[in-house]
């Protein structure tokens, strides 16, 4: 089948730049992740890395891994993928391509600025940059540029959708474009918190304009951003699961309506939840922590809706492919296609990630696992598998589409996907178990004097997971480099497999295609969930200065 719309060369190149930065960040950042895992297992490479000027300390490596993988790889990949969805979904160019290009380059400048200070070991503050750890002020400026640049790309999407709606009155917005704008709206609401923290607290403080800032207040603004951030990572993966995967697997989207309702619920519920990262913070009252726990748990509803719709779509595909019986449809899915297999495997581990997330969010159960190895165990199932493995699956068709070359080494791509699944399963299970025993996160456990010998089996499994993941991630980088620059030129353009819905798209109720009520609701809920605590914190701040000595 021929695609009914084609992106111009310059549009493809623009998306390609996003993916290039994303994959480059992943290539550098992913080196340091396994180095941490190896430290756990007792294979400490840091003295060697120090000699080779690759990392001055465990924490410089950890900062690089967190920033490059969780922030740069995700954000750039997402904006590239969403740009594609906007143009291909609406079948029209962006309204102001130069505006989007400006936003993109602003992000690049921001990343380079922040990266310089991390690489120079002047900003080993981890990706949460909790004060009063203090980096030089241009580091924070880099973060601001990254965030504001992403806003500008989002504004470019809003203008484009607005024009499309004007030109197509009464027509339902195509799902992939709608969901892309929804993702950027969620991002806009989420990043307000970190923008306030950075602009009004960290920047003036690190530049020496104010002596001290309130640490509890800074944490509160940070976590206003920090949790919806994970939904910003997740929703683009959902776009692929709802909008592409059903067709890639050979079927149709079960319900376009419910897919949209889920996205609206995410916009509504995913921002006013930050206190579930602050259950053990002294400065937030228990009642408010409990309210945020309930709001977080409410996200169970759109999450289980997503599970239902995606599984129903896949069952339809599996049965169409000849799968019979209760589970036969599952076996009949194309597990040998790296594009599909990556997303199916991502989904399987995400179920466990979801269970763990409920435990994290459940108020007092969080006492057991706050700041333990359980937490990175959890988010390596979510952002590093559900999201990252899905993005890898997307790149297996999107990069060939952009470069006009064939996906290189299909077999290796398939192997890589299964290795990732295996490596993450081993790594993550061991991390969860260590966390339940009380092992702290963000700690070179290989050097910690308090580790009992009984933990050594688990620590070894973390290391084994790390080996497998190190192999898998560089297989991926190899495949990407070859597909982008060296693979055989394809004879025809890659077919874009946007899933058709089983129901008529025009049957989607109008209120599911109207922005105003949902946005008003989301902002109102955000105000209710944060105002009392913020007023309380701001009315009696305790200014704290940066530590006198350099700590890393």
């Amino acid at each position: 089948m021929q695609n009914d719309y084609t992106l111009t060369r310059s549009e493809k190149r623009f998306i390609g730049w996003h993916l290039f930065v994303a994959v480059a960040a992943l290539a550098i950042g992913s080196f340091y992740g396994p180095m941490q895992a190896f430290n756990y297992a007792g294979w400490n490479f840091y003295p060697l890395l120090r000699k080779l000027y690759i990392a001055r300390s465990y924490y410089q490596g950890l900062t690089l891994h967190g920033v490059l993988n969780a922030v740069v790889w995700t954000t750039f990949f997402i904006l590239g993928f969403l740009t594609f969805n906007m143009i291909y979904g609406l079948k029209r160019p962006l309204k102001y391509p130069k505006l989007n290009a400006f936003g993109f380059w602003m992000m690049v400048v921001g990343v380079l600025l922040a990266a310089y200070y991390i690489l120079a070991n002047k900003a080993s503050v981890l990706y949460t940059f909790y004060p009063p750890l203090q980096a030089p002020w241009p580091f924070y400026l880099g973060l601001v540029l990254l965030v504001v640049g992403s806003w500008i790309e989002g504004y470019g999407f809003y203008f484009t959708l607005h024009q499309w709606k004007k030109d197509n009155p009464g027509v339902r917005t195509p799902f992939i474009a709608f969901a892309s704008v929804a993702t950027m709206v969620l991002w806009q609401l989420a990043t307000l918190g970190v923008a306030i923290e950075t602009l009004f607290m960290l920047l003036p403080w690190s530049a020496g304009l104010v002596k001290g800032i309130d640490i509890q207040l800074a944490r509160t603004f940070f976590w206003w951003f920090g949790h919806p951030l994970v939904y910003f990572w997740l929703l683009p993966a959902y776009i692929s699961w709802y909008g592409y995967l059903p067709r890639q697997a050979g079927g149709k989207l079960f319900s376009d309506t419910m897919a949209r309702l889920a996205f609206w619920l995410f916009i509504l519920l995913s921002v006013p939840v930050g206190f579930h990262h602050q259950f053990v913070d002294p400065g937030v009252a228990p009642a408010w922590k409990y309210i945020h726990a309930l709001l977080t748990l409410s996200v169970v509803v759109p999450s289980l809706m997503t599970l239902f719709t995606v599984v129903a779509s896949l069952e339809y595909a599996g049965r169409k492919r000849g799968g019979k019986g209760l589970m036969g449809w599952l076996a009949a899915l194309p597990w040998g296609d790296p594009v599909v297999a990556s997303q199916l495997l991502a989904g399987i581990l995400f179920i466990f990630g979801g269970f763990g997330g409920i435990v994290n969010a459940s108020y007092n159960t969080n006492l057991i696992l706050h700041n333990t190895a359980w937490v990175p165990g959890h988010f390596h199932l979510t952002v590093s598998t559900a999201v990252t493995l899905t993005f890898m699956g997307i790149s297996f068709w999107l990069v060939p589409y952009i470069t006009g070359r064939e996906l290189c080494c299909r077999k290796a791509a398939l192997w890589m996907v299964y290795l990732w699944f295996l490596g993450m399963s081993i790594f993550s299970e061991a991390m969860h178990s260590l966390g339940l025993l009380g092992a702290p996160r963000r700690t070179p456990l290989g050097e910690a004097p308090y580790i009992p010998p009984e933990w050594s089996g688990l620590l070894l499994r973390v290391g084994i997971g790390g080996i497998i993941l190190l192999i898998a991630v560089y297989m991926y980088i190899w495949i990407m480099v070859h597909t982008a620059f060296f693979a055989k030129k394809a004879e025809k353009e890659v077919e874009i497999q946007v899933a058709e819905a089983m129901t008529d798209v025009q049957a989607v109720p109008e209120w599911l295609d109207a922005w105003k009520p949902w946005l008003v609701g989301a902002v109102a809920l955000l105000i209710v969930a944060y105002t009392p605590v913020l007023i309380d914190l701001i009315s009696s701040m305790v200014p704290v200065a940066a530590p006198a000595m350099k700590l890393w």
Partner: protein, 166 residues
């Protein structure tokens, strides 16, 4: 306004998810607010540079409130140590910890218990626990605080009530 079409099975599924949600809400609410499995609370705010001028904080350590029954511990975290490093309390007594930081953020987690608090300079966290069994409970720093973070820990020695103070 057209109406929302939801598949029969999906309706049931959503109902189940809402029931689950309600069950979770009740369970954590009851265990937290009725049975006392509670998160840490704020005791006071204090300038971290002035801890030495405060009568309680200039002398951190264990305070006996009711012998054998009730104890308080004033604990200061700072880069890269806890003061005191060793805490001795009798088994079966209710121990209330007041924890704060002299410099940057730290964590205080006692292994094998549900004692866990983010240690934030300027804020004093309050949390309680009754150690039922005698033994050594390590407490560790769970927040990144610089190069020697991994070496920051201490121990709660829980002794049988009859041996306490000897």
């Amino acid at each position: 306004m057209s109406s929302l079409h939801i598949d029969q099975h999906e309706k049931r599924w959503i109902t189940i998810s809402m029931v689950l949600l309600a069950a979770f809400a009740v369970l954590i609410g009851v265990s937290g607010f009725a049975l006392g499995v509670q998160v840490p609370t704020l005791e006071q705010k204090i300038d971290p540079t002035k801890l030495n001028q405060d009568p309680e904080w200039s002398n951190p350590g264990v305070r006996e409130i009711v012998p054998g029954k009730k104890y308080e511990v004033f604990l200061i975290a700072q880069t890269w140590q806890f003061t005191p490093r060793e805490i001795v309390v009798p088994a079966g007594a209710k121990v209330t910890f007041y924890v704060t930081s002299r410099d940057i953020q730290h964590g205080f987690k006692v292994l094998d218990t549900d004692l866990n608090v983010q240690v934030i300079p300027g804020y004093v966290g309050k949390l309680s626990y009754t150690f039922k069994k005698p033994g050594e409970y390590k407490f560790i720093c769970t927040e990144y605080c610089g190069l020697a973070h991994a070496a920051m820990f201490g121990v709660v020695k829980v002794v049988p009530p009859e041996e306490y103070g000897q």
